[in-house]
Structure formats: structure tokens, C-alpha cells
């Protein structure tokens, strides 16, 4: 499997990363080198091996249904680029005109 410039642009849109046009050929080449290396994962010997998501096949533990975290909005928003009245500010999404 290999990726081309058009697919890379699609992936970049999904990843919300703006690509610099001059960097695209190099990125395509780098990604294809890694994908070529990953071809060995298609080895049929792996067909019978169950996927492993976690080293101990651990399930998520449940914790006691208890309030442990107090409200920390001011503290948590202190590092945000733009806030007002406890809200995160972003550019206008719906045009007013």
C-alpha cells in the first residue's frame, strides 16, 4: 500500500494539519518508506493471532461513584489563548450577514 499527494492532503485535513506545498513530496516519500517497512505486517502467519491492545489485556476498572474533583474552571482556563466569562473564545463560526 502506498500513499500519494492527494491522499496525503485528505489525511492532513482529517488531522487538522496545514501542509506546506513544497514539503509534500518529501512527506509522501517518508510516509511511503514507513508504509513499505510495515508491509511485513501483512504476513499471513499473523492471521491467527488475536490483536493485543494493552500489555495486560486489562479492562477499565470502575471507581467509586464519588465527587473527587472540585470545580476548577478558572484554574483550567488560565492557560487558554482566549477566554471570556468562563468560555473559550474562537473565531466566529456563523457569519452574521
Amino acid at each position: 500500500m502506498a500513499i500519494d499527494a492527494a491522499q496525503l492532503k485528505h489525511v492532513a485535513r482529517l488531522a487538522k494539519v496545514a501542509l506546506n506545498e513544497p514539503n509534500i513530496p518529501r512527506l509522501v516519500a517518508d510516509m511511503n518508506a514507513i508504509l513499505a517497512f510495515a508491509e511485513r505486517l501483512q504476513d499471513p502467519a499473523l492471521d491467527g493471532v488475536a490483536p493485543m491492545a494493552h500489555p495486560w489485556d486489562q479492562v477499565q476498572p470502575l471507581r467509586v461513584d464519588q465527587v473527587t474533583e472540585p470545580d476548577g474552571r478558572d484554574r483550567l482556563q488560565a492557560g487558554a489563548p482566549a477566554v471570556s466569562n468562563g468560555l473559550f473564545l474562537v473565531p466566529k463560526v456563523i457569519e452574521s450577514e
Binding site: A15, V17, I34, L41, V49, A50, P81, P91
Partner: protein
């Protein structure tokens, strides 16, 4: 080590004794190491942030506890954090412009534990951006240099911690290891490092790269010092759902456990093509020392190392692409100037905030998880992961500890892999399989190739850190490699 050893070369035990009987105060120690950072770090770039004011306040608090009769393994002893651990009141950058001056609103559990133990934070060390790299060249704060040879890389991603400890700018430091990021810089810098079992050290407040692989650990001159630091870091944390509830043994007390009769497994596939001859010879000599400790050498099989690399280079970016989606220019960190609209804000904040390597991994991970490719990439990689874990499980029925190289070569030159980043993958061929399997592993200094140190890797079954540390410690009782300090950083020379 004699009583006349300079302060910066004392073991934690000697530092502890000096603090205990009042030969020096924590403040004096702290001032001493801060002065070393001040005078020597320009050559290394191992620190991103140095925190003298907070350090001296913490040292004074430790001195008050010592004066009140309290004693503790780390009380009053200076250390540094890899700049991936969140510290309230001190910026956490992850070596990225994306975080830059960001100050976490809370402390990582590891940091809370070390503060409670009375250890004194001197600052935060340089690293590959978001822990993505094996050379510490991918840092928004510049590359770190290897103190043994400043034309060489220190390894990565915990390269700042490795270089700072090797140059004795700090007695001990934290690191994190996703594919080798504690062990490889420890090997390249000639220090001791331990990546514990997945789940042994809380990941709460440790900025995530690949959550099913990331694990925090300890870096110091010796296994004995690593044992004390790891003991303070390890243990269950209800705030990390993958944190183990297994009890933490007394690692320091276990250092003297008998090793006679233990089987040391040597993976025959790891001593084949691709391994530098000098590295192989140093490790061979170290295994002979392990035999002299009464251990029995057995040959084991650990196949499919390249399959492990292939799995890792899809699993880690896939998890990274998910973890790093939180850096959106809205809730914290960097935001681009004058965004045209919300999408432009997201895309430009991320492409301007993240470095090239981080963006490359996000793109690979996004591709591997995208519709139509998930099974072919991520799903296949997870199958390979289980296969690798099964190889280790089988090998560990034939032996008690596995010994082999950490990396195929000693530290390489700065810039060596810049032209072809995919060749750098092979640097991690002996460390990555261990992360996939979740096992504990160490790097132990076993000699030099020219000026550059060589590390031996020790790997054990899950939650056998105590045994790995004992093997490393007893090896270090017979050898002096862990006590070597690069000439330019020796005190009084």
C-alpha cells in the same frame, strides 16, 4: 568512591549520609548543583528550564525536615524532571512550541510523590518534542549534546535527563520510555536507566505520546540510585486507570538478593547482522561478569524484531494522532495569529505549533486509523504486538533475565540521520519489542567504544524490577563503568 570524591560524584547513599550527619545541607547541595548547571549546561543544552528559586525553597524545607530528625531516601536530594511531567507553577513544554510557556494547572502524580519525599527539583530537562525521537534533535529548544563527545547525540527522547546525569549536573532525573526513550539515552550517555513494567509508574500528568506504551522511569549513575528513585515514583494511582495495584517491593533492600543459579538468556537473533562489533564485545564481556556472579548463560530465541518495529511505527503514531488532537489552539497552548475561521485556527495552530517530526507521526497515525485502513494497519500491528509478547513469554520460561544490547551502535553523530529519518528506526530495534510486551528493562553501562559509552540491556518478566536492579547493582559492585565521568565535567580537574 572515596570520601574525597567531589560532591557531584557522590552516590545517593553518600549524599544521604552527608545530609544526615550535617556535613552539608540540602541548600548547599542544591546551590552546588545549580552552579554546575550554570557553568556547564551551555555546552550541553540539557535543561529547558532551571528553577533556582523554587529549588532553594524546597531545599530549605528539606533542611527543616532533616533538622526535625526526619530521614528519607530522597529527602533533600536534588533531581530534574524530563519536561513531560506536569508541574504546577513551573512551565511544561514537552520541548514543543505548541506548549511554549504553558503552565500546568496541576502536578503529575510522579511530581507529587517526589515532592512528598522531599526531593529538590532543580529544573526540567530537554527532550525530543512530545517524546518523539531517538536523538534529542527534534526539540524546539535545540539539540542536546552528548557530554562524552559533544559532536554526538545523547540519544532520545529523554536525552536531556541522560546528558545532565552523565555530566553530573544533577544526581538523578526522571525519564519516560515509549520505545526506548530511557534506555537508549542512558546507554549513549553511560548512565543507568530503568523503564519499569507498564503500569508500575503513574502516567497521570505525564503528557501522553502513545498511551499503551508510555511508561515513566528513573535515570541515575547507578542501579542503587535508580532503585531509590523508582521506589519513590512507583505505586498505584487511582487517577491512572492503567496503573497497577501490585505492591511495590523494597527495591533498595532487594539489591543484595542472591543471583546464583539464575539463568541469563542471550537472544541469539540480537547478536547477528546489524550489531556493531565493539558493542557486541562489551556486552559479551558483561555477560561473562554475570556468569561470575553465579548466573548461568542460556541461549534464547527472540525473533521478529523487524516485525516489532513495523508494529511500533503504526501503533505509536496512531495513538499519538489521537492524544495530540487535544492541542487545538483553543483550550491551551499555542494559537496562530489572526485565524480566518475556526478550521484555519485549528490547522495553522497545529502546523505552526508542532515540529516536523511530530506532524509526520500525526499524519501517519491518522492515515493508519482512517476509514478502510484501520484493519490493514492498526489491526495488523496489534496482532504483531501479541506475537512479540508471546515470544518474550516463551523466552522467559527458559531464563530469568534477558541480557543484550540496548542499541546496535554507540551514540551516533549529530545530524547523522537527518537525510533519511527512516534509518533512525533501526536504532530502536532492541528496545521497542520490550515496550510492545510491556516488560521492565534497564540500561547498564558496560564500557566504551572509543569515547562513547556502551549500554547493556537487561529485561525481565513483568514486575521483576527488583531482580533487574539486583543484577545491575551486583554487576556494578564488580565494575567501575557507572562511575566514569566525562573529563570536561569532572570537578577539580
Amino acid at each position: 568512591m572515596s570520601v574525597t570524591s567531589p560532591l557531584s560524584e557522590l552516590s545517593l547513599a553518600a549524599l544521604r549520609a552527608g545530609l544526615s550527619d550535617g556535613r552539608f545541607s540540602s541548600r548547599a547541595l542544591t546551590e552546588h548543583f545549580l552552579a554546575r548547571i550554570q557553568s556547564h549546561d551551555a555546552a550541553l543544552n540539557s535543561f529547558i528550564t532551571v528553577t533556582p528559586e523554587q529549588a532553594l525553597a524546597a531545599a530549605d524545607a528539606a533542611d527543616a525536615r532533616l533538622a526535625a530528625g526526619e530521614r528519607g531516601p530522597l529527602l533533600g536530594i536534588p533531581y530534574a524532571h524530563k519536561d513531560i511531567f506536569c508541574t504546577a507553577g513551573i512551565r511544561t513544554t514537552c520541548a514543543s512550541n505548541m506548549l511554549g510557556e504553558w503552565v500546568a494547572p496541576y502536578d503529575a502524580t510522579v511530581h507529587q510523590r517526589l515532592m512528598a519525599a522531599g526531593a529538590v527539583l532543580l529544573g526540567k530537562t530537554n527532550m525530543d518534542e512530545f517524546a518523539m525521537g531517538s536523538s534529542n534533535e527534534n526539540s524546539a529548544f535545540g539539540a542536546v549534546k552528548n557530554p562524552w563527545d559533544v559532536t554526538a547525540v545523547p540519544g532520545g527522547s529523554s536525552g536531556g535527563s541522560g546528558a545532565a546525569v552523565a555530566a553530573r549536573l544533577v544526581p538523578m532525573a526522571t525519564g519516560t520510555d515509549t520505545g526506548g526513550s530511557i534506555r537508549q539515552p542512558a546507554a549513549y550517555c553511560g548512565i543507568t536507566g530503568i523503564k519499569p513494567t507498564y503500569g508500575r509508574v503513574s502516567r497521570f500528568g505525564m503528557i501522553a505520546y502513545a498511551s499503551s506504551l508510555d511508561q515513566g522511569g528513573a535515570m541515575a549513575a547507578s542501579a542503587e540510585d535508580c532503585a531509590a528513585l523508582l521506589a519513590a515514583m512507583a505505586g498505584h494511582d487511582p487517577r491512572d486507570s492503567t496503573s497497577s495495584t501490585a505492591a511495590v517491593p523494597d527495591y533498595s533492600a532487594a539489591l543484595q538478593q542472591p543471583l546464583a543459579g539464575l539463568r541469563v538468556g542471550v537472544p541469539k537473533q540480537w547478536f547477528a547482522e546489524g550489531l556493531d562489533a565493539t558493542v557486541a564485545a562489551r556486552i559479551e564481556a558483561a555477560i561473562v561478569e554475570l556468569e561470575a556472579l553465579g548466573m548461568t548463560r542460556v541461549e534464547i530465541d527472540l525473533p521478529d524484531a523487524e516485525l516489532a518495529l513495523a508494529a511500533y511505527y503504526l501503533i505509536a503514531p496512531a495513538e499519538a494522532s489521537s492524544n495530540l488532537s487535544r492541542f487545538d489552539g483553543v483550550r491551551f497552548g499555542y494559537r496562530c495569529a489572526a485565524p480566518r475561521d475556526l478550521n484555519d485556527l485549528y490547522e495553522r495552530s497545529r502546523s505552526e505549533g508542532f515540529g516536523a517530526e511530530v506532524q509526520r507521526r500525526i499524519l501517519i497515525g491518522t492515515y493508519a486509523l482512517s476509514a478502510g485502513y484501520y484493519d490493514a494497519f492498526y489491526g495488523r500491528a496489534q496482532r504483531a504486538r501479541r506475537q512479540i509478547a508471546q515470544h518474550f513469554a516463551a523466552a522467559l520460561t527458559h531464563c530469568d533475565v534477558i541480557a543484550g544490547p540496548v542499541a546496535p551502535t554507540p551514540a551516533f553523530d549529530l545530524g547523522a540521520h537527518r537525510q533519511d529519518p527512516t534509518t533512525m528506526l533501526l536504532e530502536d530495534i532492541y528496545t521497542i519489542p520490550v515496550n510492545l510486551a510491556g516488560l521492565p528493562a534497564m540500561s547498564v553501562p558496560v564500557g566504551f567504544s572509543g569515547e562513547r559509552p556502551v549500554g547493556m540491556q537487561l529485561i525481565g518478566a513483568a514486575f521483576t524490577e527488583d531482580r533487574l536492579l539486583a543484577v545491575a547493582h551486583q554487576y556494578q559492585q564488580r565494575t567501575e563503568f557507572h562511575r566514569q565521568v566525562p573529563a570536561a565535567f569532572r570537578e577539580g580537574v
